[in-house]
């Protein structure tokens, strides 16, 4: 009986073993292999002693941090206001809909918008500031990455605020709190779980957006993702690529641990 039910999930276990455990182990093994296939610690030592790799990692971190902060600043108020609209779920869907547009097409749109004679520069020229080089700069990478990540922050924050029991906000109003006080001491603390999921959903992918750095930032921006892609697909140095992959996995677990849902009571 129970065994039959267990049999059902055999394909799932097999598949997960083959495509989660084995690949991660392979990545780990590969990071100990040199270009000639021999066992070596060279990748790891050269990663941790090379200023180039370390600054790249630091910069990658900084970009991801900035992208996360900017998405949060834009999305939090938007999510808060959305929960107060009529037909809020429909409006949420409208706001999230651009996610279903292919990410490369959205990036491609910015090649036009930010180009030398594109929309933004036409606007700047009209305002008398004059055209600025925007495309293939660090700023353009930040703008496009923020644009792409906004929905992934908006959604969890919206869900968290939407889940707040309305009687709590009503009680706070009854007890004489004004709107700002209600927000500060009721809504904001209860929405933090959504912010944490949002940070997780934005920060980790921001480390690895290699297609954006290539399309939008030229070669100005090098993130961990860009470096991994380059080592695997361009220079064919899989050992070094794997080492950086392991670094990225470690960062991923660190971020997950930091943004983990606290036990009940911790945040209340």
């Amino acid at each position: 009986m129970v065994r039959q039910r267990k049999l059902l999930s055999v394909p799932y276990y097999l598949w997960m073993g083959l495509f989660v455990i084995v690949p991660v182990l392979l990545l780990l093994f590969q990071s100990f292999r040199g270009m000639d296939g021999s066992f070596t610690l060279l990748n790891i030592t050269s990663y941790f002693t090379s200023p180039v790799y370390l600054t790249m990692t630091g910069q990658s971190f900084l970009y991801a941090f900035l992208i996360t902060v900017m998405t949060l600043l834009i999305s939090y108020p938007a999510a808060y206001f959305l929960t107060r609209t009529e037909h809020k779920h429909l409006w949420l869907l409208v706001m999230i809909l651009p996610t279903w547009m292919n990410i490369l097409l959205k990036a491609y749109a910015f090649i036009g918008i930010l180009s030398q004679s594109g929309m933004v520069n036409q606007l700047l020229a009209f305002m008398g500031i004059g055209a600025q080089p925007l495309l293939f700069t660090r700023l353009s990478f930040l703008i496009v990455a923020t644009y792409i990540e906004i929905p992934f922050m908006l959604l969890p924050v919206f869900n968290a605020i939407d889940d707040i029991d309305e009687s709590l906000t009503l009680a706070s109003r009854d007890l004489g709190a004004n709107e700002w006080q209600t927000f500060r001491s009721v809504i904001y603390p209860l929405s933090l779980s959504g912010v944490r999921s949002g940070i997780q959903a934005v920060f980790i992918p921001s480390l690895s957006l290699f297609m954006l750095t290539r399309l939008i930032a030229g070669n100005r921006v090098m993130t961990l993702g860009t470096a991994i892609e380059q080592h695997f697909l361009v220079t064919q140095n899989w050992g070094m690529g794997s080492t950086m992959g392991i670094v990225l996995i470690v960062i991923m677990f660190a971020v997950m641990a930091l943004t983990k849902k606290r036990q009940r009571g911790g945040t209340r």
Binding site: Q4, R5, K6, L8, S9, P11, W15, M16, L18, F19, V20, I21, P23, L27, Q30, I74, A78, R84, T85, H89, L93, L97, P98, T99, W100, M101, N102, I103, L105, K106, Y108, A109, F110, I111, G112, I113, S115, M119, Y147, P151, F152, L155, P156, E166, T169, S197, G198, Q200, A201, S208, M211, L215, I228, E229, F232, L233, G245, L248, I249, M252
Partner: protein
């Protein structure tokens, strides 16, 4: 319920405009006779006719849909069975372990998934192409399906199964008559999410695709790197309309189910990343 002030409505409107601006920018210039994305010189449909005659691109589009359909169907079957397995695994610790494995693949950055799958395929000696892309898509879609199906299983009334067993239902009948109907909305949501993920994926596909096979994302990437071509704009108009139709259609199917069965259906907006613990 507090209503929005004028200022907050304006803010929402600005965010809304910013989110849609790039998409409509693309669509607007797809009708541009000048052939650039800056100066609108006159209306034309020539980029659409060029698109219709571009057999290479059409083949790639068909391949993309083929991969997405097969992979999401396979992932739905394997993922649903996996979710049922996780649900019935008695030990809490096993459940937790399985869920965290499931989550690892969900949160992993695309480059990691792509690079590690590339290592796997190379080690086994599997030729890169249609099948390597298909298997990778199945692999990263399964956790999404599990994530969508598992909450429905937990909402199911377990006494229904006991009752059915008492009334003499076989294991197969329990599955067919009790379990599957109560989790159907989760299965549908899982299939839908898996499908859209497969269609949209770029990074993983880029790593495991080799030379002979491409999906739309990969093709758009290589063309966009060569510069502006309004054929891509025409393509984005069509893709945007298709995506809109699918999402809106799905939203109303779910809404109907919700009101009819009073089951809390999964929002199509429940994005994989957003529901992570």
């Amino acid at each position: 319920m507090v209503k929005n002030t004028k200022l907050s409505s304006v803010y929402l409107f600005v965010v809304f405009v910013l989110l849609y601006l790039p998409i409509f920018y693309l669509i607007y210039y797809s009708f541009n006779a000048a052939g650039t994305m800056n100066q609108f010189d006159g209306f034309t449909l020539e980029h659409y006719t060029a698109l219709a005659e571009d057999t290479r691109l059409l083949t790639i589009a068909l391949d993309t849909v083929r991969v997405a359909l097969i992979s999401s169907l396979a992932a739905t079957v394997i993922g649903t069975m996996g979710a049922i397995g996780i649900y019935f695994s008695r030990k809490r610790r096993t459940q937790g372990l399985l869920m965290s494995l499931n989550n690892i693949l969900l949160v992993s950055p695309d480059v990691i998934i792509g690079a590690s799958f590339l290592l796997l395929f190379t080690l086994v000696g599997f030729r890169l192409g249609f099948y390597s892309v298909l298997f990778s898509h199945i692999a990263f879609s399964i956790p999404i399906v599990v994530l969508m199906v598992l909450p429905r299983l937990e909402e199911m009334n377990p006494h229904m199964i006991t009752a059915a067993r008492d009334l003499g239902a076989s294991q197969w009948q329990v599955l067919k008559e009790i379990i599957l109907p109560s989790i159907s909305s989760g299965i549908l949501a899982g299939f839908f999410m898996a499908f859209t993920y497969s269609i949209d994926d770029f990074a993983v596909t880029f790593f495991v695709t080799g030379n002979g096979f491409a999906t739309l994302s990969v093709e758009i990437y290589s063309r966009a790197r060569q510069g502006v071509s309004l054929e891509i704009n025409a393509l984005s108009t069509i893709l945007f309309l298709v995506a809109m139709a699918i999402v809106v259609g799905y939203y109303f199917i779910q809404k109907q189910q919700r009101t009819r069965k009073k089951i809390l259906a999964v929002d199509p907006t429940n994005h994989e990343k957003a529901v992570m613990p």
